[in-house]
Amino acid sequence: MVTERLLNVAEKTVELAVKEKVNQAQVASFLWDSALTRYANSQIHQNLASKAGGVAIKVVIGKKVGTLTVNTLEEGQIKEAIRQAVKIAEVIPPNKDFKSLPKPEKWTPMQGVFDEETATCSPDYRAERVKEVISTAHSKSPIVKAVAGSLSTDMLAFAVSNSLGVSAWAKISLASLNVTVISQANGSEGFGYAMQYSRHIKDINPVLIADKSAEKSINSVKPTKLTPGEYETVLSPLAVGTVFDYLGYIGFSATPYQDGQSFVKYHLNEQVFDEKISVRDDTRDKRTLIAVPVDGEGVPKKAVKLVDNGVVSEGSICYDSLTSGRAKGKRSTGHAFPPITSGFGQARPMPINMVAAPGDATTEEMIKETRHGIFVTRFHYVNPVEPTKAILTGLTRDGTFLIKKGEIVGPIVNMRFTDSMLSALKDVPMMGKELEQGETTTVPAIKLKKLRFTGVTQY
């Protein structure tokens, strides 16, 4: 069993570290098997599989904390890594903000979040699904010029042990398909996009996703230019997910909150968003994707009410042990990042299991109720301009349409928005009743009374 092996490595490494006369030690071991078939111009051009893994060792001497990550699970190399981690801790100055490694808390493993079929999916299976994607898209119209995207299947497992008795693990499988369709007619291009995430590869529906993307693409050809300004805007769940990802990063993370850069800090207990908006970060909500019971420090992940009927509060903030140690009366909410990718644990604590409360409208009803507005499929290259005011900028992409008198009347050239989300999300006349699962968010479509578009591009 992968998790037993990882837990064994973590616990053994903690034992070895403690023998080096450190006060506390924490070890997170991990394995990440990933495979991805990527296609563009309607053929596979990148196709890969990777086996990564290792241990992240944290040793504490007094208040001195040294961290070393090494991508091996081999005992000899781990012993050397411990010695190096101790050396680091010995020479650096103390961190007065460090209180303690987390103490053990009761946790329970999550059921139904790992699918063997997904973890062991073959390149042939992925190639066949990609074939379906491409043939479906091209069959929609002769103006479909190219299909691009990727189909990935992953297995991620980690275990955390520390010298205070923490002993926890997680294992999940992930599958995702995204499809970009490019159409061309009379020298004009149209773009469409759709995606699907699941923990089960067999749930991924290539025909449905390709069909959705192709339809958007075909309907996007020959866009007209719209003058920048404020417009009623219907955001698809994809676009809403991007906005909430950024709000999580700049607002609901303890790091910017403590740095004075979070908008939440200046609006405690205020209704900053429309009262229809309620968002929780809850790993145990069945509608969320990255369902791990514990974080990268082995702390059980707690549900956090990020937005409660439009109100944000101190309780909206996600902490790990370092940031909670810095704040009076706070405990980690279990939002330390798992020891994957670079293994640095450098990422700030932030929500990755956001689920919004649904509304009662369909997207069609939102369009019907729009006099003169814009439908946005997806945002591109969003970035914060002024984090304390939650001002974001970014562009529309892959299907932007003009709505007039309750109907989509045609595609428009992609536009840049620059607006405060405290203003844009303050007046939300309609919320979608269907939630769509993204990588880190599960959200509905939203209709904004106004969004400020500040520029227009050329396609």
């Binding site: 563009a40 596979i44 196709n47 890969l48 903000d97 200046y266 670079s342 301009v385």
Partner: protein, 483 residues
């Protein structure tokens, strides 16, 4: 078993399984990250990453597999896996993959260093960071957060391919920076030195970090962050814009670096980062900028963060023109994409962020070549305009046309002199129009800026790249979009 032996076995195994081309990269990465924040060592981490990646062409299609487990058995299994993946790819190909001619060499390259950053004692580095960070913090009670950063990275790698390459490289880089955040009520302002994103970096030894001299610049960081709290808003409208190197570097990165990547222009990044407005039929025809604009991709610049001996396909480092006297003349390419457009050779731009990752076309050093102005002269000869310094926000569309940037600080220019400080400055434009309005490029303050956080690819990779530039002026640019 020696790495060379393991590499040879992989190439042989792939050939037995039916591959027509194979390369293997075996590597080790050491990455040291130090952060001092609010007077404490917030982060002291060392990452050691090793492994190998095997890339093959079989039945005319690509396959790639990688693993951290560097044993003979795992190398053989991973190689067979790469071939199996390539065979799966071949089910969906329009034509066979073909590569531009190889530059097969047996060679060694190492970054020239005066002082190995990994041999400098940790406490010595921490002392510099603590001293600099405290100076920022103690400047004023309004400084809410102050941080100082150091990072050093070393990549040891072996590249072998069936064309006969056998290249061993040791690439080392380091650098660091400072950040101060001042807060009064809900007004928040930040200043960084020498550039944002945790500082600036170069393929040099510890001497590069020392040359940044963080403690000497710390007071100014604190001072300007506090002063910005009282500065007036950036005016809205059209004006002449003077951009200093620490912002111009990102402008080059986003609006020239990415769109001249040939994989983007050929549509193979369409699903994620996007495509490019610089499509192949525009090559040597499109006026990208004014005749003051000369931009190269150059992996040979001494000390540049994107400097190396060979790329991850074994192509030697070189300089290629992307824009010459304003004309779009070249792409950053791989062996495959170079062949696609009939170029004689790759530009040497294939890079992977670890041995486990697939090489992609990545920037090396994308440099705006020096002009004939002095940076002070540009300001002196500007009647009315804004000087913008140090990037803080950035966004550009997926064809790299419509961009918007924000900088940490700006000053109004009136009748040739730098006057009032301005807060929350932003500007926006359309790439060829913007570069077409460039009427002055400096020479005296030209330097290499290094940013280690360029993202690209699926799965995402993060690459270290460099940008050489000084100060430049652009006419009639739209500024001040944020109220």
């Amino acid at each position: 078993m020696l790495l060379l032996e393991l590499g040879k076995k992989s190439l042989e195994e792939a050939a037995r399984e039916g591959a027509s081309y194979t390369d293997i990269r075996i590597g080790k990465i050491f990455d040291e990250n130090l952060t001092v924040k609010r007077g404490v060592p917030e982060r002291v981490t060392l990452l050691q990453k090793s492994g190998f990646g095997v890339r093959v062409i079989a039945k005319g299609a690509w396959g790639f597999a990688s693993s951290v487990d560097l044993t003979e058995k795992e190398v053989a299994e991973t190689t067979r896996r790469a071939v199996k993946i390539a065979l799966a790819s071949s089910r969906l190909k329009k034509k066979d993959v073909a590569l531009a001619p190889p530059t097969a060499r047996r060679d060694k390259y190492a970054t020239p260093l005066k002082k190995d950053p990994f041999k400098v004692p940790l406490d010595e580095k921490m002392d510099v960071l603590l001293q600099a960070e405290r100076t920022v913090a103690e400047h004023s009670d309004l400084i809410r957060t102050s941080s100082a950063f150091f990072r050093a990275m070393r990549e040891e790698k072996l590249f072998m391919d069936t064309d006969g390459s056998e290249i061993i490289q040791e690439i080392t880089w380091c650098g660091g920076g400072l950040l101060g955040i001042a807060v009064r009520n809900s007004e928040v302002q930040r200043r960084s030195y020498p550039s944002p994103f945790r500082g600036s970096f170069g393929t040099q030894g510890y001497e590069f970090f020392q040359s940044l001299d963080l403690p000497s610049h710390a007071k100014e960081v604190g001072q300007e962050a506090v002063d910005l709290l009282d500065a007036e808003k950036c005016p809205s409208g059209e004006t002449d814009l003077v951009i200093r190197g620490d912002q111009l570097a990102l402008q080059i990165h986003e609006s020239c670096g990415h769109p001249t990547e040939l994989d983007r222009a050929l549509g193979t990044e369409a699903d994620y980062a996007g495509t490019s407005f610089l499509t192949p039929e525009k090559l040597r025809k499109l006026r990208y900028g004014s005749d003051k604009v000369n931009i190269v991709a150059d992996a040979t610049v001494p000390g540049g963060l994107g400097t190396f001996g060979y790329d991850d396909e074994g192509t030697p480092a070189k300089q290629v023109y992307l824009v010459k006297k304003g004309l779009f003349v070249g792409y950053q390419t791989s062996r495959e994409t170079a062949h696609e457009l009939g170029f004689e050779k790759s530009s040497g731009g294939m890079r992977a962020d670890s041995p486990l990752a697939l090489p992609l076309i990545r920037m090396t050093n994308i440099n705006l070549l020096p002009g004939d102005w002095k940076s002070e002269e540009i300001i002196e000869e500007t009647k009315s305009g804004i000087l913008m310094v140090t990037n803080t926000s950035w966004s550009i569309d997926d064809k790299r046309l419509n961009f918007q940037f924000g900088t940490e600080i700006a000053w109004k220019i009136k009748n040739g002199s730098k006057e009032k400080m301005v807060r929350n400055p932003t500007y926006t434009g359309i790439t060829p129009e913007f570069w077409g309005s460039c009427d002055a490029v400096s020479e005296d303050d030209w330097m290499m800026w290094g940013t280690p956080n360029c993202g690209k690819g699926v799965p995402g990779q993060v690459m270290y790249v460099g940008h050489g530039c000084g100060t430049a002026r652009f006419k009639n640019v739209r500024t001040g979009l944020v109220g």
